[in-house]
């Protein structure tokens, strides 16, 4: 049965080559765009070294501080809050505090370079899985004693030392000098948590003002003992928030945040205007899916249009099939299968095109340190999109075809 459908489908596609070409172009073009977008999203949110333990890690990305004068401040957390209330959580196995990355200047051989500098504690290196190319991380002791040591990425090592071993040598960034402790592979700029060019201990900050800052630039990373602990960590943080005492209680009244994944944090930032820490990931997912469907709307309409206008061409076939015992349901099945086949071919073309484009995008260096690779997740997104597209654009023409009255169809009259 399916074989028969496929035979017919391929014949129909070949008979009207120009049509098929138009349809295939529309489908594969759309799917290329969708696959590229999902590759970008996957690059930002999916597991990618060094953030490989995604099933066990949560972060605190933004906090919302309510002020007594009815204003509020949203952004990275102040240091005192994370130090006093997050570091002390009992459920996580490890907690790391780190700063947002700052653009700083480095002068190499009279030329200025902008580098991103991130300040972290020692635990940072235990939670994230950096593969050191040379040397190793700095430690909690380095952080405690404010040793001027740094971990740098490959690009920075190349910039300063031109392929020579870097460990033990000194770099000057932002007017400070650090001894290189280790070299790690480049992390793409999308990775909010792990991205930087240079990582140095928190305590090497130029001034210790950050310890008392009321608005901050710090984030936390929490590692659970096992994946099942994540809800418990979320819960413990919420109960802890209830007893937060502000250094300046006249100014601040409450703090709202959640231990969450980056995706959840972005979703909360977009949708969470309420004064709670609910999980809005579903909303964001829905929004993305909705946009994807909207994006597929126009090419789908084209395909529907073409398919509907071809009913006449196939009237005889429809009549014969009905006369020999195909029910309307069976016919709908057949035409939907045909359409899905077409979109899957389009999907395959789109997949190959995306592979090339992703490689080109990686090679172009347009996005700093990005290294796009096709993986099974993107493949599955693409497949799902193609299937959805096929069903979406196939059902209406198929239904219309199946409604064709066999007597009219066999008489070969117009509809």
């Amino acid at each position: 049965m399916l074989k028969n459908y496929l035979k017919i489908a391929i014949k129909v596609l070949l008979r009207r080559k120009f049509f098929t070409l138009i349809s295939l172009f529309g489908i594969s073009f759309t799917l290329v765009v969708l696959m590229l977008v999902s590759a970008l999203l996957d690059h930002a949110f999916g597991p990618l070294p060094p953030e490989v333990r995604t099933d066990r890690t949560l972060g605190i990305y933004t906090v919302r501080m309510l002020l007594t004068n009815n204003f509020e401040r949203t952004g990275p957390a102040p240091y005192w809050f994370l130090d006093r209330y997050v570091r002390t959580l009992a459920t996580p196995e490890r907690v790391s505090l780190y700063s947002t990355q700052r653009s700083v200047a480095a002068y190499v051989a009279g030329e200025k370079h902008s580098l991103f500098l991130k300040r972290t504690d020692g635990e940072f290196w235990n939670i994230l899985d950096f593969q050191f190319l040379e040397g190793g991380p700095f430690t909690a002791a380095d952080e405690r004693e404010a040793n001027f040591v740094a971990v740098i990425n490959q690009a920075t090592a190349e910039l300063f030392f031109k392929g020579q071993p870097a460990v033990g040598r000194t770099i000057a960034v932002d007017g400070q000098r650090f001894r290189v402790a280790g070299v790690v592979p480049n992390v793409p700029i999308f990775r909010v948590t792990s991205f930087a060019d240079v990582w140095v201990p928190l305590s090497t900050a130029k001034s210790n003002g950050y310890l008392r800052e009321s608005t901050g630039s710090f984030l936390a990373l929490l590692l659970a003992r096992h994946p099942g602990d994540l809800p418990k960590i979320k819960e413990e943080l919420q109960t802890t928030l209830a007893r937060v005492e502000f250094p300046d209680a006249r100014e601040y009244s409450r703090v709202i945040t959640a231990a969450e994944t980056l995706f959840e944090s972005v979703a909360r930032g977009l949708f969470g205007s309420d004064r709670d820490a609910r999980n809005y990931a579903g909303y964001l997912l829905g929004l993305l899916l909705g946009l994807a469907v909207l994006f597929m709307l126009l090419p789908a309409i084209n395909l529907i249009n073409l398919n509907v206008s071809r009913i006449l061409e196939r009237a005889s076939e429809i009549g014969v099939r009905k006369a020999f015992g195909a029910s309307s349901g069976t016919l709908v099945g057949q035409f939907v299968v045909e359409n899905v086949l077409l979109t899957l071919i389009g999907g395959a073309i789109g997949f190959v095109a995306s592979l090339f484009l992703l490689n080109a995008l990686t090679g172009s260096g347009l996005i700093q340190y990005a290294h796009f690779q096709m993986n099974y997740r993107i493949f599955l997104y693409g497949l799902a999109a193609a299937l959805f597209f096929g069903l979406f654009s196939g059902v209406y023409p198929a239904w219309k075809m199946s409604r064709l009255h066999p007597v009219d169809a066999l008489r070969g009259q117009s509809l």
């Binding site: 074989k3 028969n4 017919i8 014969v320 009905k322 006369a323 020999f324 015992g325 349901g329 007597v407």
Partner: protein, 221 residues
């Protein structure tokens, strides 16, 4: 086995109402060879489509083995067409995109059976109409007579009780037409297949066991 009681069929378009068939009573018994005759536009094809369950009467009722078909739903009708009835058309209506054997297999696609079994039955039907040498050709590569024989093979592959033929020889020369007719008579005589055939060739009509004459949508006997 098929009984039409006071059947009336009216075709409606936006402006015109056409009475295609009026108060028609007809009993088709098992093993009969009926010829439906009349000038063009007299309702022959309409009658055949009604017997073949492709169309529903505007008034009156059609009984199949004692039950009214008006009570059947699309799915059940499709199944009855599949198992009970085989169609042969004047203009063959073969699917040009499928090979001869694939065309013959079509009625079997809507039954549960293995691909091998389907192929075996299709080849047997083609043998029955003497076309074993052309199974992998496409319809466009065959002559008119050969195409009609493929259509007959398609009609009989599912071993239907009733064969409905709408001017099966209308597009063929007399030599080929005779060939087709001999196959139909053979099926009627040796396999007890009921045949209802529309024709306006009196020569063919006389060879049938019974003639139903139509004029302006009315039965004249």
């Amino acid at each position: 086995m098929i009984q039409l009681e006071e059947v009336e069929k009216v075709y409606r378009t936006d402006k015109i109402e056409t009475l295609a068939l009026s108060r028609c009573n007809l009993q088709v018994r098992e093993g009969e060879f009926i010829a439906v005759m009349g000038p063009s536009g007299s309702g022959k094809s309409t009658l055949l489509n009604l017997i073949g369950l492709l169309d529903e009467p505007t008034k009156g009722r059609i009984m199949l083995n004692g039950s009214a078909i008006a009570s059947f739903r699309d799915k059940q009708l499709a199944r009855l067409r599949n198992e009970y009835i085989g169609f042969i058309f004047q203009s063959f209506h073969l699917i040009n995109d499928l090979s001869v054997v694939d065309n013959v297999e079509i009625p079997l696609l809507y039954r549960r059976m293995s691909n091998g079994e389907r192929r075996r039955l299709a080849l047997a039907a083609l043998e029955r109409v003497g076309l074993t040498s052309r199974v992998h050709h496409f319809p466009s590569q065959l002559s008119g007579g050969q195409q009609q024989r493929v259509a007959i093979a398609r009609a009989i592959v599912g071993k239907p009780k009733v064969l409905l033929a709408d001017e099966p020889t209308g597009n063929l020369d007399s030599h080929m037409g005779d060939e087709i007719m001999s196959i139909l008579f053979d099926l009627n005589r040796n396999e007890n297949t009921t045949v209802v055939m529309v024709t306006h060739d009196p020569r063919l009509g006389e060879m049938a066991g019974r003639i139903v004459r139509l004029f302006d949508g009315r039965q004249v006997n």
